[in-house]
């Protein structure tokens, strides 16, 4: 049996993305890619080959998920375990690495294996710098959601592993799903993004309607969702939020700190509206308008309407 590259995420969507990374790595290094699932096989996961780990239940807390993976790895000896860098995923990866005594690379891309060394790129310093890092195998690696496209390579191979009884010390008292946002920013072709330059929550519909006029969606900088709570947490774009790559990104009243740029720098065309001509966002934009958003946004909307 060839050595395996495992991919695990509690999210089915991220799991499919990880399979792309796992297949790429496996092909380059003569290994096989396996989707590891806890509890049961999930329909939304597309994979050629899977390992279903029994004993942890369907949706375990990260502590229990980590122990299930650790036991599976001790028995099956994969060469690499890829884990989706969601909030829970980061905990799972860290714990598995600590328990197995393996090194852990985080937020990796461009993975390659050279002999017994694993190499990858990751961004540091809020996206300003790309570092090339390496460690020995076996290793745990976390991968940022939405970085890789979803894999579509499917197959029927299913293996099972019984991890035995698993318990943790952390007890779940309640779990409340957040209200699902109306739109998935990652799929939007155009995004209008609101920053602190917007004075009141009541002004957001103005930006929302510009977004609609462009056939897109409304996003924001972190302070608007986290500090002010004007928009749901999952609307914020950047290092700690979603990563987006729309055709058109319009940053309105956003200063353009590196942590924000990290989430939108791969957009095709970037437009910025800001009163401060020295705002860093203009360095990261194709087209800039140095003016008050309260004058420019309605003007852009009107120009768009008259175009139809």
């Amino acid at each position: 049996m060839s050595e395996q590259v495992w991919a695990y995420s509690g999210s089915g969507e991220v799991q499919c993305e990880l399979m792309s990374a796992a297949l790429e790595l496996a092909e380059k290094s003569g290994r096989s890619a396996v989707a590891v699932e806890l509890g049961r096989q999930r329909e939304e996961v597309v994979a050629q080959s899977r390992l279903v780990v029994k004993g942890a239940g369907d949706d375990p807390l990260p502590e229990v998920a980590a122990e299930a993976l650790t036991r599976a790895a001790r028995s099956r000896h994969p060469s690499t375990i890829l884990v989706g860098a969601t909030r829970n995923g980061r905990e799972v990866a860290s714990r598995v690495a600590a328990r197995l005594g393996w090194p852990c690379l985080s937020e990796a891309s461009k993975l390659s294996i050279d002999g017994a060394q694993l190499q990858a790129n990751r961004t540091v310093f809020a996206g300003k710098v790309v570092a090339t890092v390496s460690c020995g195998l076996p290793a745990v690696v976390t991968i940022k959601p939405a970085f890789y496209p979803k894999s579509t390579a499917s197959g029927k191979e299913v293996d099972e592993f019984d991890a035995g009884e698993l318990t943790g010390v952390v007890k779940l008292l309640s779990r409340r799903k957040k209200e699902a946002g109306a739109v998935d920013l990652r799929k939007a072709k155009a995004i209008v993004s609101a920053g602190r330059g917007v004075k009141r929550k009541e002004d957001l519909p103005m930006l929302q309607s510009l977004a609609e006029e462009l056939g897109g969606a409304l996003g924001c900088s972190r302070p608007l969702s986290s500090d002010l709570g004007w928009l749901p947490e999952e609307c914020h774009i950047g290092l700690t939020g979603v990563t987006v790559k729309p055709d058109l990104y319009v940053a309105v009243g956003i200063s353009g700190q590196l942590q924000h740029i990290a989430g939108m720098k791969d957009s095709k065309v970037v437009v910025a509206v800001n009163t401060d001509k020295d705002a860093p966002i203009f360095q990261a934009s194709d087209y800039g308008i140095v003016a008050d958003l309260y004058q420019v946004v309605p003007a852009i909307k009107k120009a768009l309407e008259s175009r139809r």
């Binding site: 600590a98 005594g101 390496s134 952390v170 779940l172 203009f282 087209y287």
Partner: protein, 254 residues
């Protein structure tokens, strides 16, 4: 209540310079307290005022990291522990085991606070690895913490859900910035911070396990952006019309 709080002396990404070959100049680079660690310090101080006890701040870094400890002390931490080793690295396992060794040396803690991720390398791995190394419970991404009867009840902020969990103490908790608004120290507090005790421990004294395979950095390069950076002049109407023309040419309008 004995509360430990981990503060990282992080490279200030806004001040980072580019050197020959597009490499960042890390030697002597300006540093600051990792931004969200101030939320961890704030939470530690609130726990102390509710429960009494002591807040000890820990940092692993170069001699310069003393500055970040001072900031935690100015905010109100009682004392600091500085483990002097190499500048903070990308080997999160090694960092976590080093903090664990320093924390253990200081005795038993009821709560160890960290932030969800450091502002320079943002991996979110040190806190859970620290809990593993200490052999304690761990709860990540806390936006509310209640301590009662030897247990911590924590609200966790996840991408698509909010969870309430209960963990036995001692416990390591990582906080998100939503948890509180960090206080600004007064001038007097900043001056008094210099008188608070800081214990310095050379990393070599802690005999930390280097791990089976260290994470090495092979190279770094500063990212360059190739945006057009065209500033569109004119009044709002003119500028808007010109912008639409450009976007039309780019083919990004529907």
């Amino acid at each position: 209540m004995r509360i430990a709080v981990c503060v990282k002396h992080a490279i200030d990404e806004t001040e980072l310079k580019t050197g020959p070959g597009g490499r960042p100049v890390l030697e002597g680079a300006a540093c600051k307290v990792s931004v969200f660690d101030k939320n961890a310090v704030e939470e530690a101080l609130r726990m102390r005022s509710a429960q009494g006890g002591e807040v000890v701040a820990f940092t692993i870094g170069s001699e310069d990291a003393r500055k970040s400890l001072k900031e935690a002390l100015a905010m109100g931490a009682d004392r600091g522990v500085l483990v002097v080793g190499a500048q903070a690295s990308l080997d999160t396992g090694r960092t976590a085991r080093t903090i664990a060794a320093a924390v253990k040396k200081e005795g038993a803690f009821d709560v160890v606070l960290c932030s969800e991720g450091s502002s320079d390398t943002y991996s979110g791995q040190v806190p859970p690895m620290l809990a593993e190394a200490l052999g304690t419970a761990y709860v990540g991404y806390a936006r509310k913490i209640q301590l009662e009867g030897g247990k911590a009840k924590v609200e966790r902020l996840l991408e698509d859900s909010v969870e309430e969990v209960e963990a036995p103490m001692p416990v390591v908790v990582s906080v998100v910035s939503e948890i509180n608004e960090p206080r600004y120290p007064t001038l007097i507090q900043i001056m008094q911070a210099s008188k608070k005790p800081v214990q310095e421990i050379p990393e070599s004294q802690l005999a930390v396990d280097p791990g089976s395979s260290p994470v090495a950095v092979l190279g770094m390069s500063v990212q360059t952006s190739s945006r057009k950076r065209v500033i569109i002049e004119g009044g709002p109407e003119d500028a808007a019309a010109k912008l639409i023309q450009e976007l039309e040419k780019e083919g990004v309008l529907r």
